[in-house]
Symmetry: C2
Subunit: 147 residues, 2 copies
């Protein structure tokens, strides 16, 4: 699935451009009202990234109240999609942005059997990409769950 | 400042009890509409924890839409209080809960000079408590900023 991820007009928002490091590590899953949803291509963790398509945001509190509520609902949708497919023990939700400053919210399915447990996943090991067939299957399942 | 943190009635919500591990590592700062705001007693990072006082929540998507919006606004208030006082380079906002499962949202002021930078703070080192005078001063500043 492809769509105009890198340059997108959103109502009266300015032109939005996805950070190239986020684009390089992820595959687009779907387009929601305020955000794009990306899959982190790391087969170690079922891992979505919600990126509000609003130019110039760095921190969660840069969202205005209406956008914050909408993005909150989209984080909720991403969370429920991961739960439906993977039945994780716990979800981790986080907006860090110490390396990629553009506001993006990680939503990660966690299991006591995963290699970083109970620590955070960020910086916990090398990203291991999906095999092509596995990637296509994963994207399809997530797209269905996010409908 | 003390208030009835451990056993609190919230409208038509059930009785809420703060996880004892959260209570042990933090000092209460203030009471908002849906959440209590706690200070993590670690002088290495200006670090607030927002805890929705609703019994039985584990993940961010366990919040119903109205509570999610209100808690989102309270995360915003905690974020802006930290920014006002500390002028951080970046804020980290995260709901992990791999160890303490009760829903709690970390709001942390980050600096390129801090010891965990650019990694996450969780699990990055031992907690170093504030000296008593410093703790009182920090609580007072945060309470004023959260008014």
């Amino acid at each position: 699935m492809t769509f105009g991820l890198n340059l997108q007009e959103n109502g009266n928002h300015h032109l939005f451009e996805l950070d190239p490091r986020l684009a390089a590590d992820t595959t687009p899953i779907t387009q929601l009202d305020r955000s794009m949803v990306l899959l982190m291509r790391d087969q170690t963790y079922p891992w979505l990234i919600v990126v509000p398509q609003i130019e110039g945001l760095r921190d969660f509190d840069d969202l205005d109240p209406d956008d914050r509520n909408r993005v909150g609902a989209e984080i909720d949708r991403a969370s429920k999609a991961l739960k439906q497919i993977y039945r994780p023990h716990k979800l981790n939700v986080g907006a860090l942005g110490n390396i990629v400053e553009q506001l993006h919210i990680h939503v990660i399915a966690r299991f006591p059997s995963d290699p970083a447990w109970p620590g955070p996943v960020w910086g916990a090991g090398e990203r291991i990409d999906y095999a092509p067939g596995e990637l296509a299957k994963t994207c399809k399942a997530l797209q269905a769950a996010l409908k």
